[in-house]
């Protein structure tokens, strides 16, 4: 079965355990967007070594419709998320990717995903949530921008 779209949900956690509210909001947004004709990819590692991954926590809470739900338990960063999303989209032969993340994270994540998929013909759309996240998360996001040029150059060659 070839799904119409890949709905990619980027995980979020702070090490406290359980599904973080930021992550839950992203998941709810994905559930609103997804249809039975779509594949859903839940992406994110386990910040606490032996605990469940963000992907697994999201899978447990998932209540949307989807042709199939895939997990990427290995992604430790936005760069890792994007690599997994691009690889899954290419492997599944999907033409459209819907990237689900927070508004404050969407610009950098979509820039990296577009870089990863450059030249493939795949289309990227962003479905962002409106939550503001914590101040620390937004500051950390800003500090990650110096890495964007190099990560964009790397990700396109490592899918």
């Amino acid at each position: 079965m070839t799904e119409r779209r890949l709905i990619a949900v980027l995980g979020y956690s702070n090490g406290a355990g359980g599904l973080h509210p930021v992550c839950a909001e992203r998941l709810e947004n994905a559930a609103r967007v997804a249809t039975p004709a779509d594949a859903v990819l839940l992406s994110g590692w386990a910040r606490r070594g032996n605990g469940p991954s963000e992907a697994e926590l999201m899978a447990t809470a998932w209540q949307g419709a989807a042709g199939r739900v895939l997990l990427d338990r290995t992604a430790r960063s936005t760069y890792g998320n994007v690599r997994g999303v691009a690889a899954a989209a290419l492997e599944l032969g999907i033409r459209d990717v819907v990237l689900v993340t927070s508004g404050w994270h969407a610009r950098r994540a979509s820039a990296l995903l577009r870089a990863a998929l450059r030249g493939t013909g795949l289309r990227v759309r962003v479905a962002s949530t409106a939550e503001r996240g914590t101040r620390r998360a937004r500051l950390r996001e800003l500090a990650c921008w110096p890495l964007v040029p190099l990560q964009a150059a790397l990700v396109v060659r490592r899918i």
Binding site: N14, R76, S77, T78, Y79, G80, W104, R107, A111, L112, R114, A115, R118, R135, R136, A137, R138, L139, R140, E141, L142, A143, C144, W145, P146, L147, V148, P149, L150, Q151, A152, A153, L154, V156, R157, R158
Partner: protein, 180 residues
């Protein structure tokens, strides 16, 4: 050494996550000095991130010595402009203004050093076969920039004990994307 080997070095050197890689009244009124400072801060950062995004686009299109040199030059130019803009802002008119001005000065000094490191590394690349030797230094320069920003932003966060800056950021349209 092949390009894939160069990329492997860069990936290992960067570890690719980066540091931590993760009011107003009802009547319209003139912006306060702190709000103007916040707007200037966010505008400078937006301009800079726009350029970094463009450089990333350029680097995904092709890999050539000229492309690497051009990308490094664009990063250098944009970052120098950012440093000038932030230094030009001075500190905000808040209780912690001097601490923040010092953090911005420190950021500028650190970024100047990182840019010099980046420039030196790229100057050594005269053909694609030189990239492996430069890869570690290039990655190190970007990682160091990431750490310099983390340090400055942490100071900004810790200094704003009364939330004056947060309020100012919230009031500024320029800060809608990433207000701290």
């Amino acid at each position: 050494m092949k390009l894939s080997s160069v990329l492997a070095i860069l990936v290992a050197a960067l570890s690719l996550g980066g540091t931590g890689c993760g009011g107003g009244g009802s009547e319209p009124s003139e912006a306060s000095a702190t709000e103007e400072w916040a707007a200037g801060f966010c505008t400078a950062l937006t301009t800079w991130t726009d350029t970094l995004e463009q450089v990333g686009d350029e680097l995904t299109s092709s890999t050539s010595v000229e492309g690497v040199e051009e990308a490094a030059a664009d990063v250098k130019s944009a970052t120098e402009t950012l440093v000038d803009d932030l230094r030009g802002l001075g500190g905000p008119d808040t209780e912690s203004g001097e601490d923040i001005q010092q953090a911005l000065d420190d950021l500028g000094t650190a970024l100047d050093e990182d840019l010099a490191e980046l420039e030196d590394a790229v100057e050594d690349v005269t053909s694609l076969t030189d990239l492996p030797g430069a890869a570690s230094a290039i990655a190190s320069a970007f990682q160091s920039m990431n750490e310099a920003f983390s340090s400055m932003l942490e100071t900004l966060e810790n200094a704003d004990l009364r939330g004056e800056l947060e309020d100012a950021f919230a009031q500024s349209d320029s800060c809608a994307e990433f207000s701290p």
